[in-house]
């Protein structure tokens, strides 16, 4: 009997000793790369509708066609409304440009500005891979999945810290909290409506956002026709910004 109890205590000790290691053995950065891979194919095109909703219920919509390649190259062109049509954006790493047909030349913009207004800023609209911008400093497991605590690799990012709540089976986020360097919560992103876009692309089709800085305002991004596509690197250059619509 004594031997059995001792064996049980020893077994419990071993389990307790190694169970935290099991959690910390998870490589957060590797998981983050898998999340990126699930959200975005290596090289693809997509359509997105951005909807800004004001507290009084009025809304404004923008439709963009975007192409993304690798971890940190994304280019987009506005298809509607008429007042925005032809505007295009380009992001290579932390470099962002806006091309306005009237102005006729690309202008550098920053991640904190917003080409559409509303809660989404340029960093949200021209999102590159999270693993390109952030390191995972800590990972927690909960009964709902993983929580990744991300810290910016460089200073030139919109959010210093990001907390990503993941579905541990699908390795897709269902909520992301974005924080400033001061620790202030800037916005929440909610990932909804997981959809099969074909060719193995299964990802949330809707991102909803709210922000304590914009009380009563909400913004949505609705994804459509997300599909893999071979893209030349030359597409992601200033000289090509006025020709992105031609890729459709």
């Amino acid at each position: 009997m004594k031997k059995t109890i001792m064996t049980a205590i020893f077994a419990l000790f071993i389990i307790m000793m190694f169970s935290p290691i099991t959690v910390y053995a998870l490589d957060g950065n590797e998981i983050l790369k898998q999340v990126d891979g699930n959200l975005n194919p290596e090289s693809f095109e997509m359509y997105r509708k951005l909807i800004n909703i004001e507290p009084d219920g009025t809304k404004k919509e923008f439709v963009m066609f975007s192409v993304k390649k690798g971890k940190e190259k994304i280019a987009s062109v506005f298809l509607s409304p008429a007042s925005e049509k032809g505007r295009s954006t380009l992001r290579i790493g932390e470099n962002m440009w806006l091309y306005i047909p009237n102005v006729g030349k690309p202008l550098r913009i920053t991640s904190l500005q917003s080409v559409t207004g509303g809660v989404f800023n340029n960093s949200d609209i021209m999102r590159v891979d999270y693993s390109a911008e952030y390191n995972c400093e800590k990972i927690e497991t909960t009964d709902k999945g993983y929580t990744l605590y991300l810290k910016a690799k460089l200073k030139n990012v919109a959010y210093e810290n990001v907390t990503m709540f993941l579905d541990s089976e699908k390795l897709l986020p269902h909520k992301i909290e974005c924080y400033a360097a001061s620790g202030m919560l800037i916005k929440n992103l909610y990932f909804k409506d997981i959809k099969d876009f074909g060719n193995g692309v299964v990802r949330p089709a809707v991102i909803e956002t709210d922000s304590p800085l914009y009380k009563g305002y909400k913004s949505y991004i609705v994804f459509a026709k997300v599909k893999t596509k071979e893209l030349a690197d030359e597409i992601f250059s200033l000289n090509y910004m006025n020709k992105i619509d031609g890729l459709r």
């Binding site: 219920g57 404004k60 006729g104 030349k105 991640s111 459509a224 690197d233 597409i235 200033l238 020709k243």
Partner: protein
């Protein structure tokens, strides 16, 4: 045209305060098809703008006296504009046709009803691959990184400093774009040669003699920095070389600059007695600027502009002194000879930013008071040579999709014998309603 102003102002105020009545209300069903996914080979867009401008003339200003002598009794100038722009595009395989046409009908007391029509751009693009594109036709080539000033924009018309974002009219040209991307420090290189013929049928506003102006631009993206080198070669115009750069130092801080050398630039000078002369020199133009976005969403654009082709403070003051002398001569003898002579030099002296050193500052605030798509701004242009100042407060509001309301005012801080001190008007108000469809 006070009636027109009242009507436009009434529409402006109605749209400003009752936009909710016209706006699209929330009906949020996120499971929908995006209709723009289906691409048509053609697209057509247009916008119409109704604009009322009120200028408050300064009858003591020398440029007012030069233009009107003492014939104008009413010091308030009203102009109503109806501006219509339509653009269309048609794509067929590797060929794209693009055109943008503008029609302006306006009324003021000086000219009564007038109209202007112009083809702003009309060109064909042949793009056999993403790396290669050839454009032929009337096209705007906007080079340079400056916001208000562009010393290195060799193949385009000058910007309107009062509205740097305004659409420009292009020139007829043949140009090519070659883009090459690569791994490493140098990520992109792009080469853009441009050929611009000048004869009596096309581009004749550039010069009276037939010739082929040519030049080019080479772009590098390296070290997270945009760098361009450009040149222009001409038999009759001044040859030019230049460069520009821009770089983000942080997510909220960007710096940029343009520099250009204009070889054998001819400057035409008139002194206070009406004696004329010419000087030829190599002019150096420089622009250094920054763009900063504060945590409160306030954007600051600050630029220093050195206009090497401009006049010194003394040279410009001499021109104004000659106008004053000519006006006095007219009052004393009814002779318009001197004032008419001064007008022949107006093409050189009465331009925007005609002197040598300027500071430009634009401060704009996005969505203040939680009002989305509402942007108040104020612009200062400070002439460092004569210390005169132009101040332009402005509010832009887009209460509805495709609708923009713009209220702009302008004030000139007055000082005798200075650029902004002697402009025709000392204040102006501009009210505009623009609709895109």
């Amino acid at each position: 045209m006070k009636q027109a102003f009242i009507i436009i102002a009434a529409c402006f105020i109605t749209l400003l305060f009752n936009s909710a009545a016209f706006s699209e209300k929330i009906d949020l069903d996120l499971d929908f098809e995006i209709e723009e996914v289906t691409k048509k080979p053609y697209s057509i867009n247009a916008d119409i703008e109704v604009k009322e401008t009120i200028k408050f003339f300064d009858s003591d200003a020398l440029l007012f006296k030069q233009k009107y002598l003492n014939t104008k009794k009413d010091n308030t100038f009203w102009q109503t504009d109806f501006d219509f722009t339509i653009e269309g595009q048609y794509q067929w395989n590797t060929i794209t046709l693009y055109g943008r046409f503008n029609s302006l009908i306006y009324y003021n007391e000086d000219v009564d009803w007038e109209s202007e029509r112009k083809v702003e751009e009309a060109y064909i693009t042949f793009q056999p691959s993403v790396s290669w594109a050839v454009d032929a036709g009337k096209k705007v080539h906007k080079w340079g990184k400056g916001y208000a000033f562009s010393p290195s924009a060799f193949f385009s018309r000058p910007k309107n400093i009062d509205d740097p974002d305004a659409t420009l009219e292009g020139y007829y040209s043949l140009s090519t774009d070659y883009i090459k991307s690569m791994e490493g420090i140098l990520q992109t290189i792009a080469v853009t040669p441009v050929f611009m013929p000048v004869n009596r049928d096309i581009n004749h506003e550039i010069g009276p003699k037939n010739e082929l102006i040519w030049g080019g631009k080479i772009y590098f993206f390296a070290f997270d920095t945009d760098i361009d080198f450009m040149f222009l070669i001409s038999d009759n115009m001044d040859n030019r070389i230049g460069m520009d750069f821009s770089k983000n130092l942080s997510p909220s801080f960007e710096i940029h600059g343009d520099a250009a050398l204009v070889q054998d630039y001819h400057q035409y000078i008139i002194d206070e007695y009406g004696n004329t002369s010419e000087q030829e020199y190599t002019a150096f133009n420089l622009l250094l600027g920054l763009r900063y976005l504060s945590s409160q969403d306030t954007t600051y654009i600050l630029e220093y502009y050195r206009n090497g082709q401009g006049y010194s403070g003394q040279e410009y003051e001499n021109y104004l002194a000659f106008i004053e002398r000519g006006y006095d001569q007219y009052l004393n003898t009814s002779s318009k000879a001197a004032i008419s002579k001064s007008k022949t030099y107006a093409a050189y002296y009465n331009q925007q930013a005609v002197m040598r050193d300027y500071l430009y500052l634009k401060v704009s605030q996005k969505d203040p008071f939680d009002i989305l798509y509402f942007v108040p701004a104020i612009t200062f242009i400070y002439n460092l040579d004569d210390k005169s100042v132009s101040i332009t407060p402005q509010v832009t509001y887009s209460p509805l999709t495709n609708l923009t309301l713009d209220l702009k005012t302008g004030f000139l801080l007055r000082k005798s014998k200075t650029e902004y001190g002697e402009k025709i008007n000392n204040a102006k108000i501009l009210l505009s309603i623009k609709y895109y469809f």
